[in-house]
Amino acid sequence: MNGAQAMVECLKAEGITRIFGIPGVAIAPFYEALYENPQIEHVLVRQEQAAGHAASGYARITRRPAVCVTSSGPGATNLITALATANADSIPLIAITGQVDSSLLGHDVFQEADMRGATESFVKYSYLVKNVNDIPRVFKEAFHIASTGRMGPVLIDIPCDVQRMELSKAFRYPEEVKIRGYKPSVMGNGQQLTKVIAAINRSKRPLICAGGGVILGNGEEVVRAFCEKNSIPLVSTMMGIGTVAKAHPLYFGMLGNNGKPYANKAVANADLLMIVGARVADRAVPKPEKLERRLTVIHIDIDSAEIGKMLGPTIPLVGDIRHIFDALLEADIHTDTSEWLEELEEFKHTTVDHRVFSDRLVNPMTLVQTLSEKMDDDAVYVADVGQNQLWSADNYVMKNGRFLTTGGMGTMGYSIPAAIGAKMADPERQVVAVCGDGAFQMSMFELATIAVSKAAVKILVLRNEYLGLVREHQEKVYEGHYSGVRLYSYPHFDKLAQAYDMEYFHADSNDTLDAELDRFLACPNAAIMVCDVDSANNTK
């Protein structure tokens, strides 16, 4: 068995049945091994970055590490943005990159790029495999590292000659990993847990802030149960949308710069904030030092380095969310929040949205609300980046589905490939990518992947002929000096849909929106729907 065949055996041992990638000479032995193993389906994307984003969508729906593959040099460097995106959002990926022959490493030969060096700050860990016999161990470790502790992407860079080399001993996939420097803490510290319980019991106005870590740690159910049992209200970050349904009586929206004013008011009036699986990043908590001075902060995270990075919590607690909340669910908590909940309800109903939206074309808030209400209960909504993302996060009606977006890196072009991955992970589920006309054009080459695979992905484009969020920024900060943001009316989406055998729908007013959305969602095949939006509409 050669190295490439061993790589495929490792993937099979990990239960991988589908990978996303683009081949090249430096990864050709691996593709030869794939040719012999049709049980692993290879999805050919059209640019390597999309392989990473598609794997990200796939991983988020299957809740397991997903695999993307590229060749060396430019193929591999194209993947870096996707790795950085996955790293910022803690998405478990295994990125396999071909490399030039090991004897040529460091000689700047054709299509050589130092991928370990280039991705050092964008991956959880990386390997450059120089010995073919290391392949089983490296793969076992990589899957373990990607999917445990704080999850993230792991890079395996494999020189072409190592893929061709014969293993000197029989292939055996290890059952265990031994990494002496890696033992993520899972169980929360008992003493800290006691402090957390005492703090909740002292609190009259507790509030949970649920981040993406709740979803990554499969903690939605247990967090929900804890909130319901003890009548503790919660807000979420953008990545934490989906912890509970939007209509849940204890949910008070997304916090932060782009969040609901009543969610921020809740934070401002709480006496105890439990931050759970969230990074306390600048967009969610713009002034952490103010919070720190004013209230008791409990910070629960699997990654101890996140605790104390932005704000020094009163009570830090490191561990796996499910273990910790299982313990909290058992605990004797007897805080009476009824008055606090009444107050929060009042915030919610008295907050006035002062934003004014144009009467022209489609109202983006109505669009997101109507779309998400019409979507299946368990549908996957993939929001891109830009105004579309903020309108989505603000107005999306979460039922029992998933809201996927890139909150950390904010990578434009994420939604289409991520939606492809999500759809392939669960073909029965409705998957809709929502993007602006700017983000669409950053991934529109992936329409070919959709056409070939016949994945029934729906793409909804909010077209305002601008890079809208930058335009909005220039309007507010640079006196309306619109610089480099106008997209004009290209492409002709109807022709594009036709070119890729996709169905096409279009709404240019609130009156036609409803019926057109129905047709769009009912269509059994891949489809593009363009909604024209007035560029004068802002997110704030």
């Binding site: 370990r116 060096g117 050092e120 700050s121 860990y125 420097g181 890696y182 380095a305 605790i307 104390g308």
Partner: protein, 157 residues
């Protein structure tokens, strides 16, 4: 404050650059970094000294611990550890300055390793403070070249 970290790491390629990259990327300051193999050939030991506020020092420790190839991080307290540094320094001399230079070396416990017609190469190993003071004292003679190893530290007891 000063943070002294004694760090055991996997002795394999790329680890030093990972650690150095961590400091530069996160804007942590490195006062000194010394690396060498331990008695086990697959484990290296690093002593990293950094000056920062308490929260940053805590963050450094957490981020070091987070690295897959870091086996163990120990934070050393200055008073409860022995810290040493070695320096090689080349100083120019004249007939008039030679004897006072030799005298200074002998007072400071420094050794003269080589003498040429115009310069003296001196070795000193001592606490980082003393090495620093010695360097200051030599400035008036005319320093030609300096090599410092960086601090290595070990907890007492």
């Amino acid at each position: 404050m000063k943070g002294i970290f004694s760090v055991l790491v996997e002795n394999k390629d790329g680890v030093l650059s990972q650690i150095a990259g961590l400091f530069s990327r996160r804007g942590f300051n490195i006062d000194s970094l010394a690396v060498g193999e331990t008695d086990k050939h697959d484990i290296s030991s690093m002593t990293i000294v950094s000056t920062a506020d308490q929260r940053t020092i805590d963050q450094i420790e957490k981020h070091l611990n987070k690295k897959m190839d870091v086996i163990k991080v120990r934070r050393l307290e200055e008073a409860k550890a022995v810290s040493l540094e070695m320096m090689l320094i080349k100083v120019s001399y004249t007939a008039q300055t030679r004897s006072s230079l030799i005298e200074l070396c002998s007072v400071m416990g420094a050794k003269i390793m080589h003498i040429s017609a115009k310069s003296i190469m001196i070795e000193i190993h001592n606490t980082p403070d003393v090495v620093g003071e010695f360097l200051e004292l030599l400035k008036s003679f005319g320093i030609l070249e300096v090599q410092r190893t960086g601090t290595i530290s070990m907890a007492k007891g």
